[in-house]
Symmetry: C2
Subunit: 226 residues, 2 copies
């Protein structure tokens, strides 16, 4: 049974990668920096999305795709802030895939977006395997999850471009060694960028946002260069 | 593509359920209460296993199956406490299945176990779908994950027999409403048992353990009744 599953999985992954490439072309053409946000349940993805909306420099136009197994509680919060949002309900599925994103793109005003945030299903395993067409993968690791997570979920930490260490406001109450965590992560992934933040208190978010604004410019420059 | 995946999944689930039934017969015959422990990454599964080992009444013989994508850091900790343990590495797989448990049972001293704790892969989605042959499903929800998780991961909360609300020591620093959480969970799953605990401070663990000891006796009584 094991081998059968693997074969099927490879087929699915191949088809997904092809479709992700098509999404990426569309996003490049529109000059839309697209960020795939991944984490465990409850690590703070929605808070990061809401903080990024609230603090982003005026003139940068955002849109959001919310991925959840069920419910639209997150999309409702984004919608209340006047930002275009599409909710994907995976109905049991443990990750977003490129096909779902293609459908969501059809329902967004692509001519009027600079930054597209995709909030994946809360899961440290499966989302790492499925490209969506994004320019970068950002994962949140919240401090209460513990500093040993890179050993246990290595693919996520290897695949990601950015790690946001969220909930640093809780560090005084936890046994989380941030230096040792950073060393483990850079050991697995030498090019990764790590930002310590608290989406509750706002600590560190200015550094994250100014870096993100630089990345938005890069995608815009590439668009005008074509 | 969607329909193809569904068909495959149903085949896999059917085969898994059959195998889980065979595991269950073996466990019933041995009078071994078997607990499938599930949660998000970092919610405290390993701490619960270690606390249960440390505080369990003398005379009750434990064994542990550790499920992780990679590494044996958890199994090493259990092994240091002199408890029989099998580490399953799923090599990317996001949940344990009945076939993996069958192999693990072949490597445990079944004639000498009263309580078998199975620590599933950290994931609030996929493990809920795969029966292992266990007598009960126990899920941990740690308070930093937030009280809205039942809306977003309903299957896990519907399928589980027990919810341990872990890390209650952090409640003073969080916006987690435990009454509203309990109401949501019992709304989804009226028969669920909820225990508030802290695997760090030990709070609430005596209540959990004395309930668990009662369940061990039930399985033993059923065994001698046969």
């Amino acid at each position: 049974m094991g081998i059968k599953i693997l074969t099927i999985k490879e087929d699915i992954l191949g088809a997904n990668t092809e479709l992700a490439g098509r999404n990426r072309e569309r996003l490049d053409k529109g000059g839309i920096l697209t960020v795939n946000i991944m984490s465990s349940p409850g690590a703070g993805k929605t808070s990061l999305v809401l903080q990024t909306i609230a603090r982003m420099k005026t003139g940068i136009k955002l849109a959001v795709i919310e991925g959840d197994i069920a419910s639209s509680v997150d999309a409702d919060k984004v919608n209340q802030r006047g930002v275009p949002v599409v909710q994907i309900n995976t109905d049991g599925g443990c990750h977003l895939d490129a096909n779902m994103i293609e459908n969501a793109l059809d329902n967004l005003p692509l001519e009027n977006i600079d930054l597209l945030l995709i909030e994946n299903v809360g899961n440290l395993v499966c989302p790492a395997e499925f490209a969506l067409g994004e320019h970068m993968k950002v994962m949140l690791l919240s401090t209460p999850e513990g500093d040993d997570k890179p050993y246990k979920y290595p693919l996520m930490f290897t695949e990601t471009d950015v790690v946001l260490v969220n909930k640093v406001d809780l560090l005084p109450y936890l046994d989380f060694n941030i230096d040792s965590f950073n060393k483990t992560v850079t050991g697995l992934n030498p090019d990764v960028k790590i930002f310590p933040v608290s989406c509750k208190t706002g600590e560190g978010l200015d550094v994250w946002l100014s870096w993100l604004e630089g990345e938005i410019k890069k995608v815009k420059n590439q668009q005008s260069g074509n």
